[in-house]
Every structure is written in structure tokens, then in C-alpha cells.
């Protein structure tokens, strides 16, 4: 099936099977390998992308369901320099092997964009949908808390 959608601000198309997940389409058809597959059954969150500004698990969405939508991946949240959120992760050593990291960045970005005042409990609650095996989460939470100041005053969805 031929699908068309907006990816990281640009119009893209792909020819996929109906059964192809959005995650596999992004990775295999469109070369966006920053979205990772940790479980393929919707628990680990490593595949988190933004669809119409909302954080979703790309492994739980069919590529065909993204037809006509706006998708943003970690590549779309990254530039020549680290974003303030990414820099905060680096400062707080909020990643080790880095495999879960794109999922955390994307989820945290979605959260802080709509809730820049999120407190620690809310941050932990939202991040509980992303698994990390290396860090024990403490530095990730610290990094997200520290990044809130960059999102203050921007209460619209990405």
C-alpha cells in the first residue's frame, strides 16, 4: 500500500505492507533508525515517536494508520547541536548504552511541551512507560526536571 505523511516536517511516501508497523516503516523504508525496537509489543517505549504532537508507541501503530498524519522522530527533534533537553541529559549522565534514549527524549519532550510545570511525581509517572536498564532512572528524572526551564512559556503541542 502506498502511504503519504509528514515526517519531521517534510512530506514523505512509502510503499508498505498493511502489516508493517510504523516503527518498521520509519526504520526500514525511511531510514530513520533513531527509533528503536526493544520489544515490539508495546511495553518498553524505545520506539516512541510523536504523531500529531502526541507521544505514541510506533510499534503499536500500523504504518498505514499514519497516512495523512504528522510524525516526528528523534531525528526531527535533533539538530547540529544538542537541544536543551538533550544537553540536560548529557549533563546529568542520563544515558549509558543509549538504546532507550531516543524514546525517553521524545516522551519527555512531549510531556514538557504540554506540561512545562510537571513535578517530579508527574515526570516519573509519565516516564514509567519507558524502560531503561542502565541508569536506574534517577539521572533521567533529574535531567527532565532541569530541562523544564527551557519549556516554560511554550504551552502548545509540538
Amino acid at each position: 500500500m502506498q502511504i503519504e505523511f509528514e515526517l519531521n516536517g517534510a512530506d514523505v511516501g512509502a510503499n508498505v505492507e498493511a502489516r508493517t508497523s510504523l516503527a518498521d516503516c520509519l526504520r526500514d523504508n525511511l531510514g530513520k533508525t533513531g527509533t528503536h525496537l526493544g520489544c515490539e509489543h508495546g511495553v518498553c517505549g524505545a520506539c516512541t515517536v510523536l504523531v500529531n504532537g502526541e507521544a505514541v508507541r510506533a510499534c503499536l501503530m500500523l504504518a498505514v494508520q499514519a497516512n495523512g498524519e504528522k510524525v516526528v522522530t528523534i531525528e526531527g527533534l535533533s539538530g547540529d547541536d544538542l537541544s536543551p533537553l538533550q544537553a540536560s541529559f548529557r549533563k546529568h549522565h542520563a544515558l549509558q548504552c543509549g538504546f532507550c534514549t531516543p524514546g525517553f527524549i521524545t516522551t519527555a519532550h512531549a510531556l514538557l511541551t504540554s506540561e512545562p510545570d510537571a513535578d517530579e511525581e508527574r515526570i516519573r509517572d509519565v516516564l514509567s512507560g519507558n524502560l531503561c536498564r542502565c541508569t536506574g532512572y534517577v539521572p533521567i528524572v533529574e535531567a527532565v526536571l532541569d530541562a523544564r526551564k527551557f519549556y516554560a512559556g511554550q504551552k502548545e503541542k509540538a
Binding site: R19, G45, R57, L62, Q65
Partner: protein
């Protein structure tokens, strides 16, 4: 863990969707949020030949609140319920229960209709529907029908939905402002399926005794159940320590919970009693 192959259609009307399901001859499934269906496809526990996506069908994502209660369209998502602050007053039990559902990303996609049609015995929405005497509005090839929640859930992951039927709306009866209620569940981690959960409400008569008690339980049977004996023990009593203990004991003895790797039957049984007691205590305001 790639799914087996299937066809995909995203019709623009309910009638078309029903017709497509009919053409599937029992091998077609509805997809909307996909949060329950996609893992089943990944594990090849479901191998449909056709998926019918409700994506383009309008008007199924409306939350309508009126004198007759709360109407949730099948495509209403968990995040829609959380962000609709009217529900905190219009149906506080629903609003509270839904805060326990899954995780952030799932809440952006998972739907009321999907959860009800999937009928996981530990899921919150089926428990609320049953506890609150909800009515399910269902459309199929023979037209539209209304089914009481008490008849809708028939077993683990089983409902009375025919292969060509789509759940379009669930209607929760009106909620009196003075109603007492509580929702208590216990899961291994936040957002996990509950090992047991209790959704309860009752009204008070002029003597301050409970009437019309509804106690629904999830995670303790093949599907959500009403604890009829516990309700009977609660009705006509004041909500004091003695009543709470008696109601909890009755609940424990009336259920036949399953054992699984997370919770043996004896533990689940005790857990229901504990959650019910805590809920009743909390309901006294």
C-alpha cells in the same frame, strides 16, 4: 514478532465498516487505537485476514454529558477522558478509574471501545461499565442494538459482539452528586493490569444507610463481576467498621479467583477483601 499478513481498510462510514466485517466471514477485526490488538498481532495470537480501521469514521470520539448520564463514543481515548474535566463531577468513579490505565503513550491511542471489546478480565473500563450498569450501543449488519454490560462480557477476552458488529458507544447512567464511591486497585507496578480491583458506589437513605450498592470487581474472574452478596451485606447498613468488615468477608467468600504467576488464588481473594474495605473506608466523606 511480525504479524501475519492481512488486508487493511479504513472506511468512512459505519455502514461500510459493518459491511467489510461481514465480508470477512469471521476473519476480520476492528482496529482503532490498536493498543490491545497490535501486541496480539505481534505474538500471532490473533491472525485476522482483514483489519477494518475506524479512523475515518466521524463522531465516534465524542464525550456527551447530559441529564441521562455520560455517553462515551467508542473512539474516545483515555487522554480524552483525563482532559475532560467535566467528568470529575459528572462521573468521578470513571474519572478516577481511568487514571490507572496503562501509560502515557498508550493513553494517547487506547480507546474506550477497544478496551470494552477486548474485554481483558483485569481492565478497568469493563469493570466500570459493569459496576455502573452501563449500556453498550452496538451496530451490526442486522442494525443497532443496546446491550446491558451485565450481559455483554461472557468470558476472558469474550463478549457478545458478533464478527460483523462494532461497539459504537457506551452509556453510563446519570450520577447523583451525593453518591458515595471508591475505586481501589492493586497492581505490581503503576500502570500494570490490576491483580485485583474494586469499583463501588452506593447512595444513602435518610438514616444514613447504604442503598443501591454496586460493587464491581476486576482481576478475580474470567471477566468483571458484580459482588452481589457483598452488595446485599452493604445495603441497609451504616458504613461503620463492623459493616466494612462484614462486607469484605462476604466478598472474599463469594469469589472464585484464578491463580497465575503474579497472584495465587488465596492472595487474590484476600486482596479483594482488603481493597473493598479500604474503598468503603475512603467512600465515607
Amino acid at each position: 514478532m511480525k504479524p501475519s499478513a492481512f488486508e487493511y481498510r479504513s472506511p468512512t462510514t459505519l455502514a461500510e465498516a459493518v459491511s467489510l466485517l461481514q465480508s470477512g466471514n469471521g476473519n476480520a477485526k476492528v482496529i482503532s487505537g490498536g493498543q490491545s490488538l497490535m501486541p496480539m498481532l505481534a505474538f500471532r495470537l490473533a491472525v485476522p485476514e482483514l483489519l477494518v480501521d475506524l479512523k475515518h469514521i466521524p463522531d465516534l470520539n465524542v464525550i456527551r454529558i447530559g441529564d441521562d448520564g455520560v455517553h462515551l463514543g467508542a473512539k474516545v481515548r483515555w487522554c480524552d477522558i483525563t482532559s475532560d474535566h467535566r467528568l470529575v463531577r459528572a462521573h468521578p468513579l470513571l474519572a478516577e478509574a481511568i487514571t490507572h490505565v496503562a501509560h502515557y503513550q498508550i493513553r494517547n491511542r487506547g480507546t474506550v471501545g477497544g478496551s470494552l471489546a477486548h474485554a481483558d478480565p483485569s481492565a478497568e473500563m469493563p469493570g466500570i461499565a459493569l459496576a455502573c450498569d452501563a449500556q453498550m450501543i452496538i451496530m451490526g449488519s442486522t442494525g443497532t442494538r443496546v446491550e446491558k454490560a451485565s450481559a455483554f462480557f461472557t468470558g476472558p477476552l469474550q463478549t457478545t459482539l458478533e464478527p460483523d458488529e462494532i461497539l459504537t458507544e457506551v452509556h453510563l447512567p446519570a450520577w447523583p452528586a451525593a453518591r458515595r464511591w471508591a475505586f481501589e486497585e492493586f497492581a505490581r507496578r503503576k500502570g500494570d493490569f490490576a491483580m485485583a480491583g474494586v469499583a463501588l458506589f452506593y447512595d444513602l437513605d435518610s438514616d444514613g444507610r447504604a442503598v443501591d450498592a454496586h460493587i464491581g470487581a476486576i482481576g478475580v474472574s474470567d471477566c468483571p463481576i458484580r459482588l452481589g452478596a457483598a452488595e446485599a451485606a452493604l445495603n441497609g447498613s451504616a458504613i461503620d467498621e463492623k459493616t466494612i468488615a462484614a462486607v469484605a468477608a462476604t466478598a472474599r467468600s463469594e469469589i472464585s479467583p484464578p491463580s497465575d504467576i503474579h497472584a495465587p488464588a488465596a492472595y487474590r481473594r484476600a486482596l479483594v477483601g482488603t481493597l473493598l474495605a479500604r474503598g468503603l473506608k475512603r467512600s465515607v466523606r
